[in-house]
């Protein structure tokens, strides 16, 4: 991919690419609940889609991921706690409940979905359902 052509500027270029899509209207008819927590980025890798969301401080067991048809649901609880007698100087981290559903532009094969959670980042691999893949028609 052209984005990674120069190793020195690779990150800069990738960041520019991410920004370019933030202003694009791809999926405009798609994702419900834009502006809902957690924020997510959607990537394409071949036929399949990858959704990546930042949920720092959420434990694995507090994450609930569901997939049905074209819809992906991501719910959970993020809690922030302090010791009993602590005096808090700064409080910037947010806490609370979240529940977000997103419609993908492809039919997802629910059995092939993989979810990975590491270092506060949730990655979901959403394979395109076989029935949704385009068929090549031979021109006779």
């Amino acid at each position: 991919m052209a984005v990674f052509s120069d190793p020195v500027d690779a990150l800069l270029n990738f960041q520019a690419a991410l920004d370019a899509f933030r202003t694009s209207n791809w999926l405009e008819a798609g994702p419900s609940g834009v502006g809902a927590y957690p924020v997510m980025n959607v990537f394409r890798k071949g036929d399949d889609f990858i959704v990546i969301a930042e949920v720092p401080g959420v434990t694995k067991s507090d994450l609930d991921v569901q997939v049905k048809g074209r819809t992906l649901r991501l719910a959970g609880v993020k809690s922030v706690s302090y010791p009993e007698k602590a005096s808090v100087h700064r409080r910037e981290r947010l806490a609370g409940r979240f529940d977000r559903a997103v419609t993908m532009p492809i039919e997802i094969d629910p059995d092939g979905v993989k979810a990975e959670y590491r270092d506060g980042i949730l990655a979901l691999f959403l394979p395109r359902a076989e029935s949704d893949k385009p068929k090549t028609i031979k021109v006779a």
Binding site: M1, D9, A10, L11, L12, F14, Q15, A17, L18, D19, F21, R22, S24, W26, L27, G30, P31, G35, A36, Y37, P38, V39, M40, N41, V42, F43, R44, K45, I50, E54, V55, P56, G57, V58, T59, K60, V77, S79, V80, S81, Y82, P83, E84, K85, A86, S87, V88, H89, R90, E92, R93, L94, A95, G96, R97, F98, Y117, D119, G120, I121
Partner: protein, 143 residues
């Protein structure tokens, strides 16, 4: 939904709905040697009788890519993300940008330097600075 700040506030209300907050980009005093954007990690700082704790959210940073330094009473935290994981992935819809994290705080010097501890879990870094004996509050009995 306003059931926060009830009681002692030891646990933020779990029933609260979460909001989205844009990542803050860093406006550095000095430029970084590596190109690319840096972001300011969200931080909580609290103090107990024994210690000061700094909690920073740095999603995507692995232990090996984290650098914590304390120099001249300035705490400096640098977290680098490994974006090679994004290789061969074509962005089609994005809501946030990624980048390295950097933040520094000026601390007082009343800490036991060799007892500072750091713990990284689920993208959250917790730094604990135990207070030196002379800085801990002393109970004075009234005779």
């Amino acid at each position: 939904m306003a059931n926060r700040s009830k009681g002692k506030g030891t646990d933020m209300a779990d029933k609260q709905e979460m909001a989205v907050r844009e990542k803050k980009e860093m406006v550095a005093r000095e430029e970084k040697t590596v190109p690319g954007r840096h972001f300011i990690p969200a931080a909580d700082i609290y103090e107990t009788e024994e210690a000061l704790a700094v909690v920073l959210e740095m999603p995507g940073v692995e232990k090996k890519d984290l650098e914590v330094a304390l120099e001249n009473d300035v705490l400096r935290v640098d977290g680098r993300i490994d974006f090679s994981k994004y290789r061969d992935m074509e962005p089609v819809y994005t809501e946030y940008n990624i980048g390295h994290y950097a933040r520094s705080f000026a601390l007082s010097s009343h800490f036991e330097r060799d007892k500072i501890s750091a713990n990284l879990e689920d993208g959250v870094l917790t730094l604990t600075f135990p207070k030196a004996k002379h800085a801990q509050p002393r109970k004075i009995a009234i005779g």
